[in-house]
């Protein structure tokens, strides 16, 4: 089998397994539909290109998430030059009162919108940890992808959980 065929095969497997996660990630990084489609495309292209150098030193999952998050972070950086983005830290968000009416946020859809709004308001490193946490990755895997120490990841996850608990306890989903 040629190297390109192997690359195609790896890409097909990765896209099939992580295609949904890539789209969720893009949604969290880019609120506008058209740039989001571009971002998804860019991630897939970066993934296909990178898989030519994939040597199995880390898991395919770690590799895919690294490529996806790094492409998204670059996208955010480029967009910030044209349209400054207001983002906050986990600590700052925790101190801000939730403006939503608790009754209005009853359904799953509203809950998802609220969750998305919280995630999109985070700065990229916190957002990245939050996304990986919601994708059900453990602290060690998150540390491997982000480059943060296990302790820093644990702290961020702890703060994120506290923030989400507080937000959703105030009038969260069913």
């Amino acid at each position: 089998m040629t190297s390109t065929a192997i690359q195609d095969e790896r890409y097909t497997a990765a896209a099939a397994e992580f295609g949904g996660a890539i789209q969720r990630l893009a949604r969290a990084y880019e609120a506008d539909a058209d740039p989001r489609r571009d971002l998804v495309q860019d991630i897939h292209v970066a993934l296909w290109r990178s898989l030519g150098a994939f040597d199995g030193r880390c898991s395919l999952r770690t590799w895919v998430y690294r490529v996806a998050h790094n492409t998204a972070a670059s996208h955010v950086q480029k967009r910030r030059r044209w349209r400054p983005e207001r983002s906050a830290t986990l600590e700052a968000l925790a101190e801000v009162a939730d403006p939503d009416n608790p009754e209005a946020a009853a359904g799953e859809r509203q809950a998802l919108s609220r969750l998305m709004a919280i995630i999109q308001a985070l700065g990229p490193p916190d957002r990245q940890v939050a996304l990986l946490y919601l994708e059900d990755l453990d602290a060690a895997a998150i540390g491997e992808i982000t480059g943060l120490s296990a302790g820093a990841v644990a702290t961020k996850i702890h703060r994120l959980k506290a923030l989400l608990t507080r937000r959703f306890a105030e009038g969260g989903p069913a």
């Binding site: 949904g20 296909w48 950086q77 990245q128």
Partner: protein, 193 residues
């Protein structure tokens, strides 16, 4: 909240509907080809400019009125590929997205941005790039330096333009440094999260 946020929110997050189907390898290949075509086109434009410059100086050397001007033109001609080579070498390398953690990538970008700022090293590189050009220009200027007494009046606009260019260059350098500092600050904020 009736349920702990962990499992419920994870399930909620992962149950989102996807908007577009997963891309096929053919579609990705087409996009990669588009990107490569753009990169190749930019490279061709750069090479074209170098070839045109080389052709221009070769022509000037051929029709030079005297030996001194010809030497100046030949210095410029010889330096054209050298300058293209230095610019090519200074192109930043690409980070491997899969092998680099996000913090690693941010540090990589930071280093690239920091390189754009003024420093002794970048100035030395700039001098190395520009020195042969100035030497060539000086030799050409010496070659065409007017023998008649009032010919310097004709060269005055060129000298003024050179001076203006240098002032603009210094101002541009200061502006770029300010921009680099802002971007570095932004990157540091991004890194700290």
């Amino acid at each position: 909240m009736s349920r702990p946020p962990d499992d419920h929110l994870k399930a909620l997050w992962q149950s989102q509907e996807t908007e577009t189907p997963t891309m096929t390898t053919q579609a990705v290949r087409m996009l990669v080809n588009d990107y490569q075509t753009t990169a190749r086109r930019n490279l061709c434009i750069g090479l074209g400019v170098c070839v045109l410059s080389a052709g221009f100086f070769a022509f000037c050397a051929r029709i030079a009125p005297n030996a001194l001007v010809r030497i100046g033109d030949l210095i410029m001609l010889a330096w054209t590929p050298g300058m293209a080579w230095i610019i090519w070498c200074r192109l930043p390398p690409r980070a491997s997205l899969g092998e680099t953690s996000t913090l690693g990538l941010i540090d990589f970008h930071r280093a690239q941005v920091a390189r754009e700022g003024w420093s002794l090293r970048s100035s030395a590189t700039l001098v190395a790039v520009m020195l042969p050009i100035f030497a060539g220009m000086a030799v050409i200027l010496a070659g065409i330096w007017p023998k008649a007494s009032r010919m310097y009046v004709q060269l005055l606009p060129i000298l003024i333009l050179l001076l203006v260019w240098m002032v603009i260059f210094v101002l541009q350098l200061r502006r770029q440094n300010r921009r680099v500092r802002d971007r570095l600050r932004e990157i540091d904020v991004l890194r700290e999260g």
